[in-house]
Point group: C2
Chain length 490, copies 2
């Protein structure tokens, strides 16, 4: 069995190792930056999609499937957008033996596809709010080094596109997007984030303002998880997304979009929870929630019979369970399923059978405890076994989340001077006074980038933070008007 | 409200109308042959995906996400395959400002992507059978007229790719694919099909043989639903998909692939069940299974309160339900939801409320019947209301399926002479003796195509059929060796 680099020693190499050993994705496909995602990762990412989509449905979003190709002419309609994205577009230029009359972009994002249809669909204030989404593969010709899951040339996301009659209701939707991020990515997936309004110079191409949740991958290095954009009327004007309002005036709709990237969120989840032994999956996300390892089953056939009974009972109650009856040694099996991050292991040998119990080991605790199977298969209300498993599953998820939050909080530190910032930046997120998150601060942001290899992540949107009266910007020495956060980006 | 062309008069125009009025897809997107699929269709297609995937998972298939791009060099490895598909490929030729060194195909199908990885993954007979699948959008530069859902340039399918140690087990998998077709597409979606071995001249590019299920759209016009292909070692040899067998010999794996196209199956489902009033959705597939129409709710607020209680109760029991409390007239609402194909309508007015009942109307029957709501919300075992709804739902699905099967069977007719065939072909599937489904029959097949505008669908795979000793081929007059089916293809 291959060796896993300890995460505590080198988390980046650990991630590469785990990707290979847990069979998350294969990087040997012969196009740079394009991955083959394997079942252990796909199954969890599908579960993630289900959680995100259920939440969007509840919020009134309707699901569409839009074409993966966008005509170049659509793409060129909004000038900031085309400028921002053109360097990243893959172009379809021929088909069969024909040169196409017009190039088609492989969608890098779908504003220019959705809003061309919005202009046909929306007529009246009664059509608003109009909330849509799709799950899709998108394509970007990354010129930076690609990194599996984290920065790839094809990735898997959800994009929502919504229209509102005014800026206030559009902004409320952005706040709701941020709440969804907290509810699903924070609470269910257990990935702590802070939510920023991005500085002016780091706004999505074509947006008035951008809001985004940053997670920490390791050592204070952050990665952007979903971002949500106030597009204002920047797209609705050139695309003609208009409606007749109650006052019978024709108005342009306010548009917003939100883009949780599932393949990237998956990587953040793996890096957030994993330890030196491998992955640790929250109970809700594990493709296999319970692995049953029969002990000495070759000598005592009853063991496998009972293992199957237990598996059947768990399955019936909606728990994803597998029996590992391969001919590997028990120790090897333990090692393997720990590495894969299965939340709960059940060991069952002849002696356990006699005592009408199993041994349960939670991935996060690693401690053996006995659980009775005396009432297995009796009516639900009496069946403590299934309840016990579910309870342990929830406890594990909570423990993973709590420990992630503690680590995350410890990485956020205050600093007010350049020497302090320099000292702390390599492993922390720095909270600091700053001159301005508007265009005026762009020069200082360049210093941060050049001298510290870091970026200004923005100002907090969830809490109001103001610098003290005497605070100066550590970069230009001018009066500080904001509190910003600085971090290295993965 | 727009008029719906009666299906009985012009099913093709009916389909176009229903697509627009039920908001299934919008054809106004500005690339020919690329559709925007709308929520009412997407939600059902997602349910279809769930059914198909659950069945594949049960059969031991593992889910992958493969890149949408395939390097031209992969594509060129299997010569029949490249010859068959090259005229249909969209090519990505540049990215950003760069001309790519090699063209990438937008996948028209993914054999050449999967098998390039199989060659890395498979080592030993212990790795076999190896069953994979992905759900994906695929792209074909159709030169024939495109038709929404039925023949589009981007479509949505599942493709399975499987490897076996020998031809026998590979063929067993093909039979299992056909069983899955019957189980899901036949039994759950209610679409009757016949399953053929395609004639030699109509085999998938790169396959030894092709098996496919044909459904009838209308008037005897057939459409191919899933096909499954015995690829033999045609791909495993050039791609190097090898394994060490038990006898320690290195052997090439036998490969099979199966491709249920969900967007096309959806259209077949709509055309199979619809009537002059609009769509009829099987209970299992309806995004909204029950529509509640409150009557006189503006006068009697209790009506809406009770409607919400009923909706809550149904929802709690896993039934997809909506209340139509819009300000349209009741008659308009009935018309609209009938057109959308919602299986069950519940009407509830002040008098019903008094009598502690609702009026239930099934989409297929159109008859009003009373259902008691006296025990609504009491413990499950006593709650007859939910059970009643589920029962009516199942009865509707069965009625749709039975009626489709009857219509389907009536369309299959015997004919042994050319005049008979000519007379019957425009509205039927013809069962006839034929010279040969091997290469020798290709000339007669061309006559069928040229003179009758029809195609030889193949020989039955599910039942053995042999011509009588004296039977002649109606086209060349030679001895008939097979029973084949002839039909017009939509």
């Amino acid at each position: 069995m291959a060796n896993l680099t300890p995460k505590s020693k080198d988390p980046s190499q650990w991630f590469t190792d785990i990707m290979q050993q847990a069979e998350l994705a294969d990087i040997r496909y012969n196009i740079k930056g394009f991955l083959v995602y394997q079942p252990w990762a796909v199954d969890t990412m599908e579960i993630m999609y289900d959680f995100i989509e259920a939440d969007l449905n509840e919020r009134g979003h309707k699901k569409y499937w839009f074409p993966a190709l966008i005509p170049e002419k659509n793409f060129n309609i909004e000038s900031d957008h085309v400028e921002g994205f053109t360097p990243q577009v893959f172009w379809v230029e021929s088909a069969g033996a024909d040169k196409l009359e017009e190039r088609y972009a492989l969608r890098p994002t779908s504003e220019t596809a959705f809003y061309s249809m919005f202009s046909l669909w929306l007529r009246s204030y009664k059509d608003l709010p109009f909330r849509t989404y799709q799950r899709a593969n998108v394509f970007r010709y990354e010129t930076k080094a690609t990194r599996p899951f984290l920065r790839t040339r094809e990735f898997f996301w959800i994009e929502t596109h919504c229209a509102f009659p005014d800026e206030v209701s559009a902004f409320q939707n952005i706040l709701d997007d941020l709440k969804s991020t907290e509810k699903i990515i924070g609470n269910v997936f257990g990935i702590p984030t802070i939510t920023f309004k991005r500085p002016k110079w780091d706004t999505f191409a074509g947006a008035d303002s951008t809001y985004a949740a940053d997670a920490v991958l390791f050592n204070g290095k952050v990665i952007q998880l979903p971002s949500t954009h106030m597009l204002g009327t920047n797209f609705s004007k050139p695309f003609g997304v208009k409606f007749q309002d109650k006052d019978e005036q024709e108005k342009f709709a306010y548009l917003t979009c939100y883009g949780p990237c599932v393949s990237r969120i998956y990587a953040a989840m793996v890096l957030t929870h994993g330890d030196d032994k491998g992955m640790k999956l929250p109970f809700e996300l594990a493709p296999t929630q319970v692995i049953i390892v029969p002990i000495l089953a070759e000598k005592e056939p009853k063991v496998l019979v009972e293992a199957k009974k237990i598996a059947e009972e768990l399955k019936k109650n909606g728990i994803r369970v597998q029996i590992d009856s391969s001919d590997k040694r028990a120790g090897e099996k333990f090692y393997f399923w720990e590495m894969k991050g299965v939340p709960i292991r059940i060991e069952l040998g002849p002696k356990d059978l006699e005592a009408k119990k199993v041994v349960l080991v939670r991935r996060d605790e690693g401690k053996k405890k006995d659980v009775s199977i005396e009432h297995l298969g009796t009516i639900a209300s009496k069946n403590n076994f299934v309840e016990e498993i579910k309870k342990e599953g929830l406890l594990l998820s909570k423990a993973l989340k709590d420990s992630a939050i503690t680590a995350f909080k410890n990485m956020i530190v205050d600093a007010k001077t350049l020497p302090e910032i320099k000292k702390l930046i390599s492993t922390n997120i720095i909270r600091t006074p700053f001159c301005s998150a508007g265009h005026e601060g762009a020069e200082c942001a360049q210093i941060v980038e050049k001298d510290l290899g870091s970026t200004i992540r923005g100002t907090r949107i969830d809490v109001k933070e103001k610098p003290a009266h005497s605070d100066k910007c550590p970069f230009c020495g001018k009066e500080a008007n904001e509190i910003v956060y600085i971090a290295k980006q993965y």
